[in-house]
Subunit: 313 residues, 2 copies
């Protein structure tokens, strides 16, 4: 199909020069109105999220973005104004991340707005950190802060929740924005390439994603819930309603980076990441347990969670 | 998002070694149940079509497939059996075309089944034929036969159409199959790279797609409708109902290759293509007309069509 839609997309296959000595890194994600975002979100924010969730995967692989392709399925009630705002948001996202739109396809759907983005990046050949590469003894670290987006979604669904009384205006705005506009950790790439063993992005909840990483590596691990980094806003919410900690560490949409690093490299990795503007917090370690499982602790005592990983699927 | 669905897709970003001296060729297409295919088509055929329509774009660029990514939005009524059959069909398509599945994402949708495929191929650096490269004096050629899929769709929608009385069983099967299982012309790649100036695949109807190519090149053209290659089945249908010729040359889903070749190279190109098993038929030429337009003729006399290009959008 030729892809002639309302957008000024390229009308032929896209071309991208090959890079000797580098590997391509590729990721596709689809987001659906009513499932992954609200249909009445500002179109520029929807565009940003569609791009950002993929760039988060590239970021976790230490990749430099090279471009993306977009497949857009428009519902019956689409308008030219909506599409123009979406396109502007997409262009702004492409500019902000150095990841140009290479091509696309626009189709009609009788269903909800559905956006599929395929992002391409590259890394030095053979250097992409993979999920399954954790080793016993590695430290487990996570970037930024966890749980903001899950709390932002909760706040969006119930703006008058009792715990929201603990938030000031800036806290509320912070949580809502973290759900609406995830920030892929692209700047972390050089530090990941230099130091990380296993790496993935946290999209379906910290605990569940860490379990996946450990399972892929065939190892167990320990996660100190007290060490999980929280923003001021999330900390205020959890202080008011302690049960929210579970939502914070199992909710989705963090788009932070989870990785393991040899114990001897933790200091150097954290310093490198900090120099790139990304705080990395040690939250546990990888162990050679039988059976391979993730042990959670709080206040030094083991805990379990009522629910597992939040999953979109 | 991690893309944990029912399919055995890779659970991390995909990696593909860079190729020095070659360009990547990239194309994304989305197909939607009820728009681009029938929801009750066999799942393996749906999978084949999702892959084939993208590989057709790679074929038009002379590209060698390197792999593809899949975003699958499953409707509420999906079943494990359906997904297993879809996956098997996809694997069979990947094997048949030498284009492996590199990664994917599976999500739920309250709407119809929606499949987005991003296909990657490569060509020698700087050699990708583009749509806008036609020159005045070039011959216009098309591969295979035109109109089968449009007639197959018509037959599917109205199996008892009067014109269908002109078809034997093999004809009916041929037309239906050409709609259900388009065959990307990947084998043509070396001939296109060696000889073609402009090239694109015919997906939205021969006449409309040729108009797009000429417009992109800023030139006019002449198309001899009598020269348009028809299969035995399509020829039988058109002989019974002459108005079907218009449907044949404006209907979609041919997935043949349309290209222009310098007049001096037509013989060599056709011989090269024939040696690769692909018949290429001259159907007109590119002219420097003002205004730039496509002139159609039949029996040596100018004709016009009631409708323009069939478009899915």
């Amino acid at each position: 199909m030729a892809g002639e839609g309302g957008m000024a997309l390229l009308d032929d296959a896209a071309r991208l020069p090959g890079e000797a000595g580098r590997d391509l890194v590729l990721k596709v994600d689809a987001i659906v109105a009513g499932v992954h975002f609200f249909a009445d979100d500002p179109p520029a924010d929807i565009a940003w999220k569609a791009l950002a969730v993929n760039l988060s995967d590239l970021a976790a692989k230490g990749a430099t973005p090279r471009g993306f392709l977009l497949a857009l399925a428009l519902p019956p009630d689409w308008t030219e104004d909506w599409l123009a705002a979406f396109s502007q948001g997409l262009q702004a996202g492409a500019d902000a991340t150095g990841c140009p739109l290479l091509g696309g396809d626009t189709v009609k759907t009788p269903g909800p707005l559905t956006i599929s983005v395929t992002a391409l990046g590259s890394v030095p050949a053979g250097r992409m950190p993979v999920r399954m590469a954790a080793k016993a003894g590695d430290a487990i670290l996570v970037s930024g802060a966890i749980g903001d987006a899950a709390l932002g979604l909760a706040l969006r669904l119930d703006p008058d929740a009792a715990w929201a009384g603990a938030l000031n205006g800036a806290d509320r705005a912070h949580l809502l924005d973290r759900y609406l506009r995830p920030q892929p950790r692209l700047t972390l790439a050089p530090a990941l390439l230099a130091h990380a063993r296993a790496a993935m992005d946290v999209s379906d909840g910290l605990v569940g994603d860490l379990r996946k990483m450990l399972k892929a590596s065939g190892l167990g691990g320990r996660l100190d819930l007290d060490a999980v980094p929280l923003s001021r806003a999330a900390a205020a919410a959890v202080a008011r309603e302690p049960a929210l900690l579970e939502r914070a560490v199992t909710g989705g949409d963090d788009y932070e980076i989870l990785c393991t690093v040899a114990a001897s490299e933790v200091s150097a990795f954290r310093a490198h990441a900090a120099a790139l503007g990304v705080p990395m917090t040690p939250i546990g370690d990888v162990v050679a347990s039988t059976p391979a499982e993730l042990l959670l602790s709080r206040g030094g005592a083991p805990v379990s969670l009522a629910q597992g990983s939040f999953s979109h699927f």
